[in-house]
Symmetry: C2
Subunit: 408 residues, 2 copies
């Protein structure tokens, strides 16, 4: 066997990266190296597990998954659902999800438009990979959870922020602002409804205007509807699926995490044009090779028998929203706007605050209440903080009592 | 609210895509659209569930996961492991995996070098995203399972095939061939050892030569070691981890799928330089947001208590290899080379065969035995077929008896 020729080629220069990095870190792709690492988890590190901290920073309730989850997993394993399976997801789950969406009043969505994913996040990254890469840009409607922009940056696409406005009726989007931000390299508009952190439910007219805009510009519309059941005055939030054609450039991400309190399960799905199913199967093959088989079977059971859990989540968030908003409305330094009618968060302004990260850390130190700083949710939000309301009434009441000492 | 300006911009032209596609499919990124959709699953479609077919096409045994899996999942759920968790994976699992690797004789690998992933495939796609994108190329040592090249194509990188040679001692790699295939845009060398489909175990000297080559050229070495325990004359295959430094540009993908017969679980891990842990946490956050929490806890139990299952898998594959190779060696039209000492496959030449896909379909029709055609595993393999030997002795004996009618 010949020895390899060890030509005197230097390693590639670490263009654009700071000096002094460990050698391996200095050798990763610049696109990846440039994605900011800071996130809410980082802020919370060190405080996790401390019983004196009331953790209201994450987008997660303290509710448990449906009580039959473990039994459904065991049954699926016992029945031998332990092998590789279809990349788009098992037929019983895709059919259950299609029936579920239709049962919620959706325009016909067939199982051929559903691909099961390893969570709502995974649905969104597959959608983003399909449409945007290096040299492209995407419009992200904010305030929005930081992961939407994070995905785009991870894939090398530029994020163009288009902000909703806080009006007397709540957060509202002017679609003309989205239109003005688009150019020839804009591949998609991303929005979340109900929103995180705002709880804003985009009216159907606004969603329709975005769809028309995308149709006219040849762009994709990608909706994050993971909170579609966490709404207090309807069975689910309005969805653009109801008026779009199957072959419209539209994808919608869903998750088991919020509706059924299943964050730790990592199970979601993407609604997509039927023509994309084979391509998505290929993408699933080369990214995760499919979702845990017995978890998919348990997921079908949750879709079919888990509605009581949705009711609990919804009531819990509604109650939490009342506790938190009621307190915030009495605080001298806080300004909330109209109470959210959906979602898991109160997103409020703090008078005189100019550095939301520093304020969060200061309030954490002084009160032991963990919140998420506004700057994570898009530019121009340094005056805002986010509280997760999907926690027990006792802990929310205690948290608001502590916050009264600094915001009251 | 103003109406959006609907400028008369045309959708982007579908450069390079065939005409007549459904509108949505025609509007995805060209990089994605160009990735071939054909795979072994597609070949098998229509035959799945047909009891007259003996399915030896996939890389999957018919063994079940460790018998305590369902109980371990239930316990983890009962203990409340149902929430979001660390993006690099839970500490108990990372620590168990580090102890496991060290217990198998590895040079010290700390938990800070392990990120838990949604399967071995997911480990590989994260590794590839870290190092190669559009405009880059990667060296792939083949014959190799098609997914390695599939990942690269999905991410827009070019695949450069470097082939092992079938010698009297089995499949051997000349590292000089890899050196000759590299240029200034080569970001990584990918290899699998033990190999799929060949079962080839790369000698430590060959792996070391590849590491030296990568050091000299500033490239990454990425090893797929998912079959490291499926070896018949050792506890595990030689690994380059044993001689590399922690900050070498080296990543190694592992999986629960093969060692513990857990294909349907989608659980794996990546061994990486410690400096990459925060970056990998970010990438996990934006692609899957982490691996199913209770599955990670069950995984820790499997690592600690699952060694009997590894023994079963190893004995089963050894026995299957003897049945299949014994038969192949008696077939007039088949040529195997030295019997593999590892892996789950026999990869053999068929005299006079020039179109492996057509031959597979023809043999399937005539005998009801499903095999994988050689062309999937890299250029120059049209004379080869792959049989999975990780099946019951009875089904393998019956399959070889049927194949005797066409290859004997």
């Amino acid at each position: 066997m010949a020895s390899p020729t060890l030509a005197a080629t230097s390693p590639p220069p670490n263009v654009g990266l700071p000096p002094g990095l460990p050698p391996a870190l200095a050798a990763i792709r610049e696109t990846i190296a440039r994605v900011p690492l800071e996130n809410i988890s980082g802020l919370a590190r060190g405080a996790l597990g401390d019983p004196s901290i009331i953790p209201l920073w994450f987008g997660e309730s303290d509710l448990r998954p449906p009580p039959f989850l473990a039994q459904a997993l065991t049954q699926a394993i016992d029945e031998g659902h332990v092998f590789y399976t279809e990349q788009n997801g098992i037929a019983p789950l895709r059919e259950a999800l299609a029936a579920y969406l239709v049962g919620l009043g959706a325009r016909e969505v067939g199982a051929d438009r559903i691909t099961v994913t390893a969570g709502g996040m995974n649905a969104l990254v597959l959608a983003m990979m399909l449409v945007a890469g290096a040299g492209d840009n995407v419009i992200v409607i904010d305030p929005v959870w930081p992961n939407l922009g994070g995905i785009a940056r991870l894939l090398g696409a530029q994020v163009r922020s288009v902000s909703m406005d806080l009006t007397a009726e709540g957060w509202r989007l002017d679609p003309a602002k989205a239109a003005a931000a688009m150019d020839g390299r804009t591949r998609a508009i991303f929005f979340a409804s109900p929103g995180n952190p705002t709880g804003a439910v985009l009216p159907m007219a606004t969603q329709a205007a975005l769809l028309e805009l995308c149709r006219a510009r040849g762009a994709w519309l990608i909706a994050d509807e993971v909170y579609h059941r966490v709404i207090f005055d309807a069975a689910r939030s309005p969805t653009i699926c109801d008026i779009a054609a199957p072959e419209d450039r539209l994808m919608v991400a869903h998750s088991f995490s919020k509706s059924w309190a299943m964050t730790g399960c990592r199970l979601g799905w993407l609604v997509h044009p039927p023509s994309l199913a084979p391509t998505l199967a290929m993408m699933v093959q080369y990214t995760t090779s499919g979702v845990t088989t017995f978890l998919q079977h348990a997921g079908a059971a949750v879709v079919e028998r888990g509605e009581p859990s949705v009711d609990v989540v919804r009531a819990y968030c509604k109650q939490g929203m009342e506790i938190v908003c009621g307190a915030l409305e009495g605080f001298a330094r806080a300004r909330l706007g109209p109470r959210p009618t959906a979602g898991m968060y109160a997103f409020f302004e703090v008078e005189g605050m100019t550095d939301s990260r520093a304020a969060c850390l200061d309030i954490l130190r002084r009160t032991g209440v963990g919140m998420a700083p506004g700057f994570f949710f898009g530019p121009g939000n340094e005056r805002f903080l986010r509280i997760c309301v999907a926690r027990s009434p006792a802990s929310l009441t205690e948290a608001m009592s502590r916050l009264a000492t600094v915001l009251g």
